[in-house]
C-alpha cells in the first residue's frame, strides 16, 4: 500500500461506514425514529430552553443598554462600620461645589450631572398629573442620559445661575397636560410654583424594569432651582465607555475621599454604583441559569442514549450472521467496531438534527407569544454545536458497548448464528 492509500483508506472506511449506517437507518425507518425519540426530545428541549433564556437575557440587556451602561451613580451613604454610629445628614450630604474639580481629577469620567429629584403634581389649565418626577439637572444631563432636546432649547448657564423658574418637559408630560405641539413659552404649575416651559426632551426609552408606579411624565428644572440642602442631591456621571467603569469608580472614590477629608482609617461615607457592574452580575447569573437548565435537560439526552444502546444491541444480534460474513471476508475487528459506532452516532446525530428542528419550532412559537417578551429568543451557535457534540458523544458512549460486542464476535460462531 502506498502512503497516499494509507492516508485515504481510513477516511474511505469511515465514509463507507456512514453510508452503510444511513442505509441501515433507512431500512429500519420506524424503528430508528422510535429509538431516537429520546434524543430528539432531549435536543429539542435543550435548545428551546437555551433559546428562551437567551431571549430573556437579551431583552434585559437591551433595557440596561437603553438605561446606559456607562453610568456611574454617586450617592451619600452612611458607611457600614458595624458600630452603632449615627451619621448626621449634614455630615453625609454632598455640597454644591464638591464636584467642581471632578473632571480634572477623574480622566475616565466623560461628564456628569448633579440631580436632585422629588415628586410633585403638575398642572396646566384643567389638566393635572400627579406623582410626576421633578428633576433638577445640570446642563450636561443631556449627554449623561443621552437624551436631547427635540423642541425649544436646553437650559443655559444663566438659567442655573439665577435659579430661574424654567422647565423642560418630556413628550408624555406635554401630552398629559394637553399642551400645544409647541409648548415653549407656556407656563405650567409645578406644585404651587409657576414654571415657563423652554423645551421638550425625548421621553426615556420604555423601561418596565425600573418603573415603580410613578408617572411616565417628567419635568426638568435647573439644578439650582431645585436644590435645597435638606433634599440634597446625587450625581450621575458617565464614564468614557462601559469598559472603563472600574477605573472611573476608583478615580471618583479617590477624589471623593480627598474632597470629604477622609483619613485612611475612615470608611467611605458615600456610595458609588456602576451600572456595568449590574450588567456583569446579571450576565453571570444568566449564564449560570442557562448552564443549570442546559445541564438538567441534558440528562434527558443520556436517557435517550440508553434507547440507542438498546437498539444497537438488537441490531448486533440481528445482524450476527452478517458480521460473521464480513469477518470471514476480511473485516478486522476495528472495522466492525467502527461500523457499529458510526451507526450509533449517525442515529444520534440524525436525532440531534430532528431535535434541533423541533427546538427551532418551539423557539418560533415562543417568539410569537407577545406576553412572553421573548422576541429576541434564538438558539445560539454554541448551543447547536453543543447539542450535536453531546448527541455524538451519547452515540459514542452508548454505541461503544454494542460495537465492542460486535467486534469481538468469533467469525465462525457468528456465521453459525441462526
Amino acid at each position: 500500500m502506498n502512503p497516499l492509500q494509507l492516508l485515504v483508506a481510513p477516511v474511505v472506511l469511515i465514509y463507507q461506514s456512514v453510508f452503510l449506517a444511513l442505509g441501515q437507518v433507512w431500512a429500519n425507518k420506524v424503528r430508528s425514529i422510535l429509538t431516537t425519540i429520546g434524543i430528539i426530545i432531549g435536543v429539542a428541549s435543550v435548545t428551546a430552553v437555551i433559546a428562551a433564556l437567551t431571549g430573556m437575557k437579551q431583552s434585559v440587556l437591551t433595557q440596561f443598554e437603553s438605561f446606559g451602561t456607562n453610568k456611574v451613580f454617586i450617592l451619600p451613604y452612611p458607611p457600614d462600620t458595624g458600630k452603632r454610629v449615627v451619621w448626621r445628614w449634614a455630615d453625609l450630604r454632598f455640597h454644591q461645589h464638591d464636584f467642581d474639580e471632578m473632571l480634572e481629577h477623574c480622566p475616565s469620567v466623560a461628564t456628569f450631572s448633579r440631580n436632585c429629584d422629588y415628586t410633585q403634581s403638575i398642572s396646566y389649565g384643567t389638566h393635572t398629573e400627579s406623582n410626576v418626577d421633578i428633576v433638577g439637572i445640570d446642563p450636561q444631563w443631556h449627554q449623561v442620559e443621552n437624551r436631547s432636546v427635540i423642541l425649544g432649547r436646553p437650559f443655559s448657564l444663566i438659567d442655573n445661575e439665577h435659579a430661574r423658574a424654567v422647565c423642560l418637559i418630556n413628550k408624555i408630560a406635554q401630552d398629559r397636560l394637553g399642551l400645544d405641539t409647541d409648548p415653549t413659552g407656556e407656563a405650567i404649575m409645578v406644585g404651587d410654583r409657576r414654571f415657563i416651559v423652554v423645551g421638550v426632551v425625548e421621553s426615556r426609552a420604555e423601561s418596565s424594569m425600573f418603573g415603580n408606579g410613578r408617572s411616565d411624565a417628567e419635568v426638568f428644572i435647573p439644578f439650582n432651582t431645585a436644590y435645597t440642602p435638606d433634599n440634597g442631591f446625587v450625581v450621575v456621571a458617565a464614564s468614557k465607555s462601559p469598559d472603563v467603569s472600574d477605573e472611573a469608580q476608583a478615580e471618583i472614590t479617590f477624589y471623593m475621599r480627598h474632597k470629604r477629608h477622609l483619613r485612611v482609617d475612615q470608611p467611605d461615607n458615600f456610595r458609588i454604583e456602576v451600572v456595568q457592574k449590574f450588567v456583569d452580575q446579571f450576565k453571570s447569573v444568566a449564564s449560570a441559569i442557562t448552564m443549570v437548565a442546559g445541564g438538567i435537560v441534558g440528562i434527558s439526552l443520556l436517557v435517550g442514549g440508553v434507547g440507542i444502546m438498546n437498539i444497537m444491541l438488537v441490531s448486533v444480534s440481528e445482524r450476527t450472521r452478517e458480521i460473521g460474513l464480513r469477518k470471514a471476508v476480511g473485516a478486522r475487528p476495528s472495522a466492525i467496531l467502527l461500523q457499529f459506532l458510526i451507526e450509533a452516532m449517525v442515529l444520534c446525530l440524525l436525532g440531534g438534527m430532528a431535535g434541533l428542528l423541533g427546538g427551532e419550532g418551539i423557539t418560533a412559537i415562543l417568539k410569537s407569544i407577545p406576553q412572553a417578551k421573548l422576541d429576541q429568543a434564538s438558539i445560539p451557535g454554541w448551543a447547536i454545536a453543543l447539542s450535536f457534540g453531546f448527541a455524538a458523544a451519547v452515540g459514542l458512549l452508548f454505541g461503544m458497548f454494542p460495537a465492542i460486542k460486535a467486534a469481538r464476535l468469533d467469525p465462525i460462531e457468528a456465521l453459525r448464528h441462526e
Binding site: 464480513r326 470471514a328 471476508v329 476480511g330 473485516a331 475487528p333
Partner: protein, 248 residues
Amino acid sequence: MVIRLRNITKVYRVGAERIAALNGVNLDVDRNEYVAVMGASGSGKSTLMNILGCLDRPTGGTYELDGRLTTSMGASALAHVRNERIGFVFQSFELLPRLTALKNVELPLIYARAGWFSRRARAKKAIETVGLSDRMRHRPNQLSGGQRQRVAIARALVARPAILLADEPTGNLDSRTSEEILALFNQLHRSGQTIIMVTHEPDVARHAKRIIRMKDGRVHSDLPVEEDPVSELPAPTPLAGIPLEVSA
C-alpha cells in the same frame, strides 16, 4: 507449499463433554492442487475447512499458510490473512441480502481498502469470470441457487486468494447446477487456482485431482484421484447442453 498442517486438533466442549472433532491432522497442499475432502458426516470435514480458512482456531498443532504461521496470529492479523489469501465458499452462499451481486463481490475489497475504481473494475471482472455479467445489479433473492453460488465464488476470488476453500459448494444445488459450478472450478484450476473442497458426492469429488478421506477427525486416506475408489464408479452420463465455455 501453500498449506502445511501439523498435528492439528480441535476439541469442542459441550457442557462437561469433550468432543474431539479433529484428532491430529497432518496435511500438505501444494500450489495449484485441486483437493476434494470426503468422509462420513461428523468426521470433521467442516471443522478442518474452517481452520484452513482461518475462521476458527485449532485447539493444538500448527498451521502455516503461504509460509506464515497463522496459529500464532491475533484476530486482526487473521482477518488480514482471510482477506488477502483465502476465498471461502459456503454451502449456504452467505450473500448479504440487501446488496446487489456486484456489491456482494466488492465486499472483500472494501476491507482490503481498495479504491473505488479498482474495486469496481475487479469486482466486475470477477463476476465476468463466473459468467454473471448480466446479473450484476440483481439482489440475491432475484437470483437462482446456482447463480447465487457463482456470485459467492466471484466474491471468494475477487481478492486473488492463494487458496479457494469450498465447504459442500454444491450441497444446496441440483445436479445440473452442480455441474456448472464444477465446470467453473475446473476452469479456475486450469488457470492456476489452488482449490480445496468438501463434498459427500463421489461424482463431485471425481473432478478433483486428489482425494482426502477423513474418519473420526483424522486423515484416513490421501490419494490421487486415479487411485481412489471414486474413479472406479461408473462415469456419470454427461448431462446434455451444459455450457462449459464460461468466459475467462
